[in-house]
């Protein structure tokens, strides 16, 4: 099922991001790789969509197409009602490995975004400080990215993208490089941030819990060719709270996704299931 009708915007709600019948193929080592095949979905205003799937299923290609870095071979993408023809500050990206500007200080990275937005030189400094304070980086404003910890780099990438106040935010594996504990903590920060700014967001991740924790809807993709398998609605209220991870609803949704991805059997262990190691 290539068409994810479940993700269609309800009537009367503007679809901020609309992906329609998008296909994209690459040639790699002389072979044609179908990264995306007839993919369609929409993200309504203010909603967060997570895209989950195995490596190589076309998640990043999809985000690159929405961002305007790549053009689809077939199909159309529109954002804010206009066709996407290239990158735009209305669809700011938090890239996979942050893509921080190493040659600029933490402040300089944010000021770059403010300059791109057309903020005058005089106002940039104070505004950059505001943005850095919001993510707790004001005290390291004069350091260079190479001097930051992984979590700080991640926060800087988010602060830099938010500095242009984009109506849509695209996050490509935003927390993949971080250790588990830090990931949990930053998931809380991200859900709060997405709630505060009311952005329309697309989050690519391979972490099922992360997708459920951040998103209103989870798009499941399968690879070669990259297609949409199904869409899972997460009806828990946003912003999410840590206790929600333990709710039965959360566990059920997780199981639904696991089943769809063919990851983990749902059956309870019985005779032939898991037996304690010390029993025999």
């Amino acid at each position: 099922m290539a068409h994810a009708t479940a993700a269609r915007a309800p009537d009367g709600v503007t679809a901020h991001i609309d992906v329609s019948r998008v296909s994209k193929a690459f040639e790699r080592h002389g072979k044609v790789v179908r990264a995306l095949d007839d993919v369609s979905f929409a993200v309504p205003t203010g909603r967060v969509l997570a895209i989950v799937g195995p490596s190589g299923c076309g998640k990043t290609t999809l985000v690159n197409i929405i961002a305007g870095f790549e053009r689809p071979d077939a199909g159309t993408v529109s954002a804010l009602g206009r066709p996407v023809t290239g990158p735009s500050a209305s669809r700011a990206v938090v890239p996979q490995h942050y893509a921080l500007f190493d040659w600029k200080t933490v402040r300089g990275n944010v000021e770059f975004a403010l300059k791109a937005k057309g903020i005058s030189r005089g106002e940039r400094r104070a505004l950059a400080t505001d943005h850095l304070e919001r993510v707790g980086l004001a005290s390291v404003a004069e350091l260079y990215p190479a001097e930051l910890s992984g979590g700080m780099k991640q926060r800087l990438a988010v602060a830099r993208a938010l500095a242009v106040e984009p109506p849509c935010l695209l996050l490509d594996e935003p927390l993949a490089a971080l250790d588990y504990q830090l990931r949990l903590r930053l998931q809380n920060e991200l859900t709060a941030m997405l709630e505060r700014a009311r952005q329309t967001a697309v989050v690519v991740t391979h972490d099922v819990d992360e997708a459920l924790y951040l998103a209103d809807e989870v798009l499941l993709m399968t690879g070669s060719p990259g297609t949409i398998d199904s869409v899972v609605r997460v009806s828990l209220p946003r912003p999410r709270e840590p206790y929600m991870r333990n709710m039965p609803e959360f566990a059920e949704l997780r199981q639904v996704i696991w089943d769809a991805l063919g990851l983990v059997e749902a059956r309870q262990p019985q005779q032939e299931g898991i037996t304690p190691a010390c029993a025999s």
Partner: protein, 260 residues
């Protein structure tokens, strides 16, 4: 690179040992002073050269040519490399020209340079230009072309225009490459100017060696060679210092911050 005092001293061990062996072989009469003068003779020749004022003049002459040639080479190579990196059509036109001219050693340009510019500073600067141009051009071009595409994309997705991306992403990300090019370029420039002075340009350090050789002043030849080495070393060290000041984000040692 700031080494502890003790390591700096021990680093000179091999150098001092070589000098000792050289002096011993000379004192024992193994080395013919006409062919390889003793370190003591070289030192005294150097001192005579220095006190006459010729050393400073020779160095100033050669360095002036390097300075002029480097300035021209950098001034032409950097914009051209930036443009070639940004404009594929220009790149395609430029590539065959660059690849054809690059293998020609700077010294092979000396006859033409002398014909065009006479025997003065302009001919030497032209040879230096040829020597320094290619390392600088290639390094900057590579730096620009290999700028991390994800950073260019990130900048564009923040709404940065062509100009901001060019000046603040491509040009800045290519700075370490520029310094690499300048380091290699200044080495080539120095070798080129000495070579030019050895074969035709009649002043400077290279000419001094050539003159000393015809007068059978082997000690002065060796003193001249070592001076050339020392000046070259100083130029690269000075460039390194400028690099550390200019791009601290690239060379500054990392302070680990482990608070998330």
């Amino acid at each position: 690179m700031r080494l502890p005092q003790r390591r700096r001293v021990t680093q000179l061990g091999l150098l001092l040992a070589l000098l000792g062996v050289w002096q011993a072989l000379s004192s024992l009469g193994v080395l013919d002073p006409e062919i390889a003068s003793s370190p003591a003779a070289v030192a005294s020749a150097w001192w005579r050269w220095f006190t006459s004022g010729d050393l400073v003049r020779d160095c100033a002459t050669s360095l002036g040519r390097v300075g002029l040639g480097m300035l021209l080479a950098t001034g032409v190579a950097v914009p051209l490399a930036l443009a070639a990196g940004a404009i594929p059509a220009l790149d395609r036109q430029l590539a065959p020209v660059v690849e054809l001219l690059r293998p020609i050693p700077p010294i092979a340009w000396v006859p033409l340079a002398l014909l065009w510019f006479g025997i003065g500073v302009r001919a030497a600067a032209a040879v230096v230009f040829v020597g320094a141009f290619f390392p600088i051009f290639t390094a900057v071009y590579t730096g620009v072309v290999e700028v991390d595409a994800s950073k260019v994309n990130a900048a564009r997705s923040l709404g940065a225009g062509r100009r901001q991306v060019m000046m603040e992403i491509h040009a800045r990300a290519a700075l370490p490459s520029l310094f690499l090019g300048l380091r290699v370029g200044v080495g080539m420039a120095w070798m080129s100017v000495i070579a030019a002075e050895l074969v035709g340009v009649r002043s400077g350090l290279g000419y001094r060696i050539q003159l000393a050789q015809t007068l059978l002043q082997t000690d002065l030849v060796i003193a001249g060679m070592l001076t050339i080495g020392a000046v070259g070393l100083c130029m690269v060290a000075a460039l390194g210092a400028v690099e550390r000041l200019t791009i601290p984000w690239h060379t500054r040692p990392r302070r680990e911050l482990r608070t998330a």
